[in-house]
Subunit: 240 residues, 2 copies
């Protein structure tokens, strides 16, 4: 598990650290895992442990962790310990409001750059999302949902809004895995179709409304699940 022979990493399929730094690969991998809910909230992450599990030295793991802390994806306890944030109902509500404020703004800014062709592409993504629901493929469903939103927001140029929105999604990520069982009952795809229709009919306000309601619908059921998880997890991680 050591990097003695150069750029080959053990057990993975990344071809080469060419053009990208090792730290960035670690960061990307961690970021993905966090967004997919691979880590349990409250779980502690150590520099050496992460470095070992990825076959690198401490340095890349260290910088990746600190970067994710700076982006609020991970929590830095006063003990200098880095953990996956534990979500509370209030924080989730705050994240929802922030998402609405920023993503509605991003959608409005993207609106002038949309056209029928783009609406088609968005619709295609939404159809794939519907298919993911049919197939009960939760990971694909999340991925396509993310693609739908970001494809829209990226339509507007600028490097201010997108990083902040990504940070919000990153903060929500660790708790999104709680929605796995409730996949069937989701009805937010309606909002996506409303958004596409709004683009086609050149109605910016309707687009903004669709995005806002999509966010609120999707986030609405989470606090209860968080309460559940906190209640059931109390016996397990009460040690911390």
């Amino acid at each position: 598990m050591q990097s003695d022979d150069g750029d080959e990493d053990t057990g993975h399929d990344e071809p080469a650290p060419k053009g990208t730094t090792l730290q960035e690969r670690v960061y990307a991998e961690l970021r993905e895992a966090i967004m997919l809910g691979r880590f349990r909230p409250g779980e502690a992450m150590t520099i050496r442990g992460l470095a070992d599990s990825l076959g690198t030295s401490m340095m890349p793991a260290r910088e990746a962790l600190r970067r994710l802390v700076a982006e609020r994806a991970l929590d830095l306890l006063p003990n200098r310990r880095v953990t996956v944030p534990t979500m509370t109902g209030e924080m989730f509500e705050e994240l929802t409001e922030a998402r609405v404020a920023l993503e509605v703004l991003a959608a409005r800014r993207a609106f002038p750059a949309t056209d029928p062709a783009f609406a088609d592409r968005l619709e295609a993504i939404d159809l794939e999302q519907d298919a993911a629901i049919e197939a009960r493929d939760w990971a694909l469903y999340q991925e396509r949902n993310r693609a739908f939103h970001f494809e829209l927001y990226e339509r507007a140029p600028g490097r201010v809004l997108m990083p902040m929105i990504e940070s919000l999604w990153l903060q929500i990520g660790p708790f999104l895995y709680l929605t796995r069982e409730s996949l069937g009952r989701t009805y937010m795809e309606d909002r996506h179709k409303e958004a596409v229709a709004a683009i086609r009919s050149r109605d910016e306000d309707a687009l903004a409304l669709a995005i806002e309601q999509d966010i609120r619908d999707g986030m609405g059921g989470l606090p209860a699940l968080i309460a559940d998880q906190n209640a059931e997890g109390k016996s397990v991680e009460a040690v911390g």
Copy 2:
């Protein structure tokens, strides 16, 4: 610890790294300098240079720089070079919209936690700001303006909105120094008084409107100044 004479840094007066890490001191110092506009946009910052100027090793400087990059306070060029961001009119407009969206939301969330006593404190800050204008003390003026806003926003609990707002202020910081000469013509203190009045009359919408207009007023004149600075700076930093 062998930087000639131990843990003393050269030329500064920080007493001791007690309770706080060295990296955090470097970060705080850099952050303050950026907010105060001590660095010229486009200026490159090297790890070793920063480390030397602060009398530390590369490591704290390195992590502080990367953290500020993660917070969008500094720019990471594809050359892996860290520079003070160069602002464009479009980006400034984007920052303004993001500020309005987030800070209005923060003000609304803070509103229920406000009372007459808090309004008095806010008014006191605003009076100090007025005094700073009279005294032509630009630095104090900026500091009191920041205090006014953050005092209000911090009234609401939560750890989501504040870091994002701070990041926005950090991104604006490097260009705020352009407003030094135009201090006398500012009229945004009216908005602050409107905000205080809105709190006293328990009018949340009026508070939100006052904050929004305060932001727009304060940011409105900047793009022209940015254009000026770009035009005059072209002969100097055209080398980049």
